[in-house]
Assembly symmetry: C2
């Protein structure tokens, strides 16, 4: 059995994109903080979603990576083997689901930069999709990590749109400074179960009338 370059034999890729495979490799090297036990951001979110699902708290799934299938072989009547396929650009975000009757939609971005989050990490279709979600009454956001500080921020789409539109309409800076996250965004609480309790942040921001000056405990 052959594996993609850079992926060891015992790290069978389950349902990962090329980027995810690369990301996974990177973060295993760079992101070995105690708190997340060597997990990358995607793994932490997937584990949290499983926790939410099993405990009947929310139904949030990662969407499968879209694949363009070109060639399928049928070695037997019941077996299908895809023998030629390509990664496609997704038209939406990676995660969506349902929490307390509300539609939830987000993407997760791992960031190794110390001073800012470069907007180049976001694809235009993701911004467009989240813009529409917010417009139609869903909860749209991104989870952005600052791996150098082992911090995970809950970033409402409004903040991203502000910088995105300034960058691509007015030609301003194409990144969001770290200080903006520090001052305006909510740190997501890390723990053992769930690993990354982003629904607690949603509780405080969207399901609590007294949501000024929030402090995550």
């Amino acid at each position: 059995m052959k594996f993609p370059s850079g992926v060891k034999k015992n790290e069978t890729i389950k349902h990962a994109t090329k980027n995810e495979a690369i990301k996974s490799k990177d973060s295993k090297k760079k992101n070995l903080g105690k708190a997340n036990l060597g997990m990358n951001l995607e793994e932490m979110i997937n584990e949290s979603n499983t926790y939410y699902l099993v405990n009947d708290i929310a139904v949030i799934h990662k969407k499968p990576t879209p694949i363009q299938i070109v060639k399928v072989d049928y070695p037997s009547r019941t077996k299908a083997v895809i023998t030629e396929a390509y990664y496609k650009t997704p038209s939406t975000t990676d995660y969506n689901g349902l929490y307390k009757g509300k539609y939830i939609d987000f993407d997760a971005k791992e960031n190794h930069n110390k001073t800012a989050f470069p907007l180049a990490n976001i694809h235009p279709h993701q911004v467009n999709h989240l813009r529409m979600i917010a417009k139609h009454g869903g909860i749209a956001f991104m989870i952005i990590s600052f791996n150098q500080y082992n911090e995970f921020y809950f970033v409402p789409i409004d903040l991203i749109l502000e910088y995105w539109d300034k960058a691509y309409n007015n030609g301003e800076r194409k990144s969001i400074p770290y200080s903006i996250f520090k001052e305006n965004c909510h740190l997501i609480k890390e723990g053992y179960m769930p690993r990354l309790n982003y629904l607690k942040t949603i509780d405080e921001l969207y399901f609590n009338n007294d949501n000024k000056n929030l402090e995550i405990k």
Copy 2:
């Protein structure tokens, strides 16, 4: 270029499962009613979703088919070719999204039977998923066609659960009679744009206080 058996050269499979490919072939033969212009149910729904998206009515997408990737080749630094992969059983339904602030979740089932809809067409994980969606406040349903009559029914998950639980807990019949659809379900209006206006049915069922004795115009 090689194509899966049974699929003609000009019908390139875009992102279809084995079942979808088979379904597509079947329905092209059997489902050539004038109203749907030879489209199968999935194609009609996808076209309707595009209409809803483009016209800023709702954001509803088909989830990509989950694929287990085993082998990826990199003929160049920027190109990835998947050379061995398998279809996986999805853990959710095919469609979800957002309409008027509500989370929408459904599956579509093409049915060639004249007298009933066999429950064997539904996978247990789909029922479990829709059961949870309803419990958490989403709109959970199935779109079930009776191709022999060129009819498309909006079937709330409650009705399916009633028959499902009777069948698998009490050993009763493992199908829903056609008469039940006729008497208790809502016909989805077919048209040119959108092809299958299932959001109109949702309007009448969920966004209208006077939703008794509904009649689709």
